[in-house]
Symmetry: C2
Subunit: 246 residues, 2 copies
DNA sequence: GTAATAGTGTCTTTGAGACATTATCTA
DNA sequence: TAGATAATGTCTCAAAGACACTATTAC
């Protein structure tokens, strides 16, 4: 510690960064979706190499020397899910870089959070072997590799918050979608039941959340539901209320 | 790009990270406070070295090889403000690491956001020369070094959001504080005027936001105000409403 | 007393929660 | 027609905004 303070006590922070110790840079992805079979789900890969060989982990990889970090996240997402960037949502989550989180070296990982529509029935694992969707409620977080359990927990909390204050729930759906489908996104992510009528009123009265396409979805039975598209607004004002508080 | 894809197409992401290109790691700090003279203010330093010599920049520095990133942020904060960690607030903001943001090398910076009480009248610049508080409203963001204008903008947005949903406004104040002082924090950060009576009702009815100490503050004129301490809760439920929407 | 600031009470409006009713579709 | 699902309307209550009034201090 003394040594470190002495280092820092040099006249100015402006000297050559290449003289400083350097770290490896990766991105990790918390990719979330809603599926008919597994419900609210996250994409996990099985690690083939050491450390944590055989453990489940978040997909991710190294950032290339001249690549923007966001572009690295986009690239990994495309490789893992096969989905072209479109109506999905991708945002930076947080950065994890404690010494010792990777036993081999000092690795700093910038985590990203992605919301994916199923887009038909995309099968993950284009490049990565054994990439699979896992039901969020069934994952044992301390069985994940590295500190990925913590990253996943942070990502889930962020996702639940995003649905309160933003319209990003639509990113879980292909457009156009029904009001019921949008409500089921909320119910899956928040793990609650919402009143369909109050939900409908809240969404339609929130300016720019959704716009009706005028089309209706033919169904096998019952009244055909109105179809909607994302309305362009990012924020819900006032926010969605989640009476269940964390 | 082709070369990069080929690299990535190797069998597994588990090989030795030390074989990958590495980056320099820094922390940058958005330190905010409320001051009698400059109001809502941010701590900036004048750069002594290249690049951006003479420009204003956020305080920050390199992360030591065996140091946690959060600890590096705490250390820089202590060095720049001289304040011991106490009732202040420090959280990770975001990470900025685009190639080219530092002309010398690939430098990835993890930005932190800090709320500081003035603590008497702390004079920044213990170690760092020419560290000064600058009124947030008067800063020309594109005159800051590197991408610090963007980091500052992101920090301000985060700070304004934090006051809506959390009790962190108390971190701007020494305890105990008056209700008027707390309201002035909101008015400074949001740049609005708030009704003192509605504000008082909202704060006192929000569970765990503040607790009255029972003491009163002697004043030169007018009724002596009740003193409060932070109440322990982190979240305001329901949140503070900022009718001015961004 | 006056001047100044702190704190409380009341009315109105907005919006969330609960829940009954009407509309539209298929078989 | 029945059965199923979608959409709308109404009532109640909680909370935010506007604003008048009372309380406490120094002089």
């Amino acid at each position: 510690m003394r040594r470190q303070r002495d280092l820092d006590a040099q006249p100015d922070p402006g000297y050559d960064p290449s003289h400083w110790p350097r770290v490896s840079l990766t991105v990790d992805l918390v990719v979330l979706t809603i599926r008919p079979d597994t419900g609210f789900s996250v994409l996990l890969v099985e690690r083939g190499g050491r450390p944590f060989k055989g453990y489940l982990a978040l997909p991710g990889g190294f950032v290339f020397p001249d690549e923007r970090i966001l572009d690295a996240a986009r690239r990994e997402l495309q490789e893992e899910t096969g989905i072209e960037p479109g109506f999905d949502h991708l945002e930076q989550l947080a950065t994890y870089g404690d010494p010792g989180r990777d036993s081999r070296d000092r690795v700093v990982s910038v985590a990203y959070l992605a919301f994916e529509a199923r887009a038909g029935d995309v099968r993950p694992g284009g490049d990565a072997a054994k990439a699979m969707w896992h039901s969020v409620s069934k994952i044992k977080r301390n069985h994940l590799a590295f500190d990925h359990g913590q990253i996943l927990a942070d990502g889930l909390e962020r996702a639940r918050n995003r649905l309160e204050y933003t319209t990003y729930a639509t990113a879980f759906l292909d457009s156009p979608f029904t009001m019921t489908a949008l409500r089921e996104v909320y119910e899956a992510v928040w793990d609650v039941r919402l009143d369909p009528r109050n939900f409908h009123r809240k969404v339609t009265s929130s300016d720019g959340f959704v716009i009706p396409t005028g089309e209706k979805l033919p169904t096998s039975k019952g009244r055909s539901p109105q179809l909607y598209a994302p309305g362009g607004a990012e924020h819900i004002i006032p926010p969605m209320r989640r009476s269940d508080m964390s």
